[in-house]
Point group: C2
Chain length 115, copies 2
């Protein structure tokens, strides 16, 4: 996975554990595509200060992932859900029972709310 | 949910974010059923120091839950999985197809690894 995408996901998962400023800078840089200079200007600080703050925030995010592994767990869950959805489709193909079709739809909607 | 059970679950979810000592005291008190006096004696500190350390750890656990909500999410996922398992059983009751039965078993085993 691309580093930028990874940090963006980690930010979503663990952002609330960061300081307000750390989250804001990471969000501006990785999700809102602001440059270091733009963030520096908006906050009245140097580019280097922004860079340091971003680095600290990134380190924290990777530390949280190392400890809690939520990103890895989410990816595994999504893979399992994809397998289950594909298996459900096999049942759908094998059955012409309308009630079974209805149950399958219910299961799919519950599955899609799982992650 | 009983407070003791709640703290035990939170400890499992967020224990790695605590300091080593905080985790050890909480684990000893809530999971291994050691008394304050026993923990105090094992660590060569006062009962009050153990109590303070436990309180700090508990506060942190509740703070993590407030921010990340992993316990609430896990409970909701388990409820949804129970609904899905019950729906899968309905399909099993409606179908005599052996291949469908095999697919259902596969889905169940994937589901049981989800949380």
């Amino acid at each position: 996975m691309e580093e930028k995408v990874k940090i963006s996901i980690l930010c979503e998962l663990y952002g609330k554990l960061l300081t307000e400023k750390q989250f804001e800078f990471l969000d501006d840089y990785y999700n809102n595509d602001l440059s270091l200079s733009e963030i520096a200007e908006n906050n009245g600080i140097t580019r280097q200060a922004v860079r340091d703050n971003l680095k600290k925030g990134e380190c924290k995010l990777f530390e949280f992932e190392e400890k809690l592994g939520l990103m890895e767990k989410t990816i595994l869950q999504e893979e399992k859900i994809a397998v289950i959805l594909s298996e459900l489709n096999k049942i759908k193909d094998k059955s012409s029972d309308k009630q079974v079709a209805k149950i399958l739809e219910h299961i799919k909607s519950e599955l899609n709310c799982l992650v």
